[in-house]
Symmetry: C2
Subunit: 355 residues, 2 copies
């Protein structure tokens, strides 16, 4: 039997802190009995809650701290007061020290990324980290990165995102060579920004062992499931993600109004309520709750701040999978196997700078 | 009584050419009797169709040409063979010559923009044009620009987009000072790309007479209707638009599957079918069919290529409104009234370049 997966948790993270984190962990544990937890935060809030979940209590070590990062603090401020002493930092540091295999937090994204960069540092070969999101599609799911960690980037950055995203897709989708698309404004080669075009040439001309390069994709290809991995920089990726979330909320609101508009529609709703429940589950953002920080020297999973215990359990399950299927060594191997393409990307980036 | 609005039409544009354009124009004419049409294209295809719509035939002049731009031609190629002689070019040239007040085409967007820049040129004060889209929101509609004409841009470009978008919003929404948001990845001032931050400072510190600056908005604010005008450059704007369209298609597909999954859900659908019809109409992209090209020395309306006659009629109605409410002189007045802010933006852009 393999070793248990050790998960460090920022118990104070998220809009609801321990009251969501602990039931969420209990729920994940029921599914994944070979996990152990290290929880950082206010002992007085955590311990009484743990008493309601004896199975979880028995596999959890609680480390007390009085300091935690607030959801609306600026990253720079959070770093100043929360370094070394906050529950978020301590959860990250547990990964750095080797006390845990992965860190999960529902806290402030900007602060978590700032602390993760500071505490774990980026991998030797990677300059700037990324957040990979799991996006529901008509064919299943896709990985979209970067959804907000690093803004802009040269050709090498895009190639690195393709390599790291594919390593993650290999685990999440069980594919040997996931398909990868570069997000652009059109499928014509003349379109798009210079860096994206340079990355396109590199990915097309230098085959990579761990992925199958599809070419450019457009915004509507994400939800259609055209590729397994969609690569873009953090500004565009974040706006695409939030625009899709906004559109989904908007359509759900239209649907609710339509179904309650008349007596007939309300009767129809009653007949079809199981179908609506299935639809609601399909549209449930908690199902794919958990951004994965890539490019750092350690695995960090960001759960949505407003999530409930089902969503937080989902984030823990993603964390578990990433450890069990060895995300870090997959990324290292992929980067090693991609040296030729990465060198070509550096040259392409150099040409851009000179031009 | 005011003068009729003269509309030049690329009758060969779109996936279906005259078979959609002519019924669409007839439908628009029924609503807007004070319009006159100049149609460019294959006489042999246009004239027989016009016979079915005598009212339209009586207010339409047909100009024959054997050349038209294909939907998948590259803009550069279209310009080479289609300059001066294609139905698209001739429709644009009618505006330039003063034979028409506005041009409508459902043709290839890239080619239409390339020809429009070449034929009409940009306005004296504007360097690069934009495409403004009308986006359905929970509160009504918003204008989003640029959805794909010009990629990237400095602070001045963003300020110009804000000024032009507000002039258009004044017409579409009848508001004196439409609210404007700059699309960004967060509402914190420290976030986002340099050019967007510089534009934010200018818009915040130099009040503009024709708009009310709201500040940064995120992707999900578009559909929530947080502001009347959302400003971004063409790369991000195009990806946001297509991502929203993809999400809407995806959710419609989920809904269809859910409603046909079981006998009960099919019965429910029957009871609620009027509600579903209303929902379908609400989600109908034809309702807001028509991108408006801004920043050119003339008004050009781009209809979706795949639209039907209802959608094409909608594009003509937008064209009509833009002429009737004097979009061009509103933009010129707004730019004139914004000289101080535009100068500040130039200075900000200069600082960026020096930095």
């Amino acid at each position: 039997m393999s070793k248990p997966v050790r998960i460090s948790i920022d118990a104070m993270g998220g809009d609801h802190g321990p009251s969501v984190v602990i039931p969420g962990a209990a729920r994940a544990l029921a599914k994944l009995p070979d996990t152990r937890f290290l929880m950082f935060g206010d002992e007085a809030a955590i311990k009484p809650l743990l008493e309601s979940y004896p199975a979880l209590r028995d596999v959890t070590t609680v480390v007390h701290t009085d300091v935690w990062v607030k959801m609306d603090d600026k990253p720079s401020h959070a770093l100043r007061y929360g370094r070394r002493v906050s529950s978020m930092w301590m959860a990250l540091e547990a990964v750095k020290k080797g006390d845990a295999d992965v860190c999960v937090s529902a806290g402030n994204t900007g602060a978590l990324m700032a602390m993760a960069k500071f505490c774990l540092r980026t991998m030797a070969q990677i300059d700037r980290p990324a957040i990979a999101g799991i996006w529901p599609t008509l064919k299943g799911e896709a990985i979209v990165l970067d959804v907000g960690a690093s803004i802009g980037g040269d050709a090498q950055h895009y190639v690195d995102l393709a390599v790291m995203g594919s390593a993650m897709a290999g685990i999440v989708f069980g594919r040997e060579r996931p398909t990868v698309g570069l997000l652009n404004v059109g499928v014509e080669e003349i379109k798009g920004i210079e860096e994206v075009k340079a990355a396109h040439r590199v990915l097309r001309e230098t085959p990579l062992p761990g992925l199958s390069y599809h070419g450019f994709v457009e915004g509507d290809d994400i939800g259609q499931g055209t590729v397994d991995v969609v690569v873009t920089e953090g500004f565009t990726g974040n706006i695409a993600l939030k625009t899709a979330e906004g559109t989904a909320k908007q359509l759900a609101s239209y649907l609710r109004s339509a179904m309650s508009a008349t007596l007939m529609s309300r009767i129809g709703y009653l007949f079809a309520r199981k179908a609506f429940a299935a639809l609601k589950e399909k549209m449930d953002p908690r199902r794919a709750n958990g951004g994965v920080f890539l490019g750092l020297d350690g695995i960090v999973i960001k759960s949505h701040g407003g999530t409930d215990e089902v969503g937080f359990a989902g984030a823990i399950e993603i964390a578990y999978d990433m450890v069990r299927h060895e995300l870090m060594s997959r990324i290292r191997d992929s980067l090693l196997a991609s040296q030729e393409a990465r060198a070509a990307a550096v040259a392409a980036a150099q040409t851009e700078t000179d031009a």
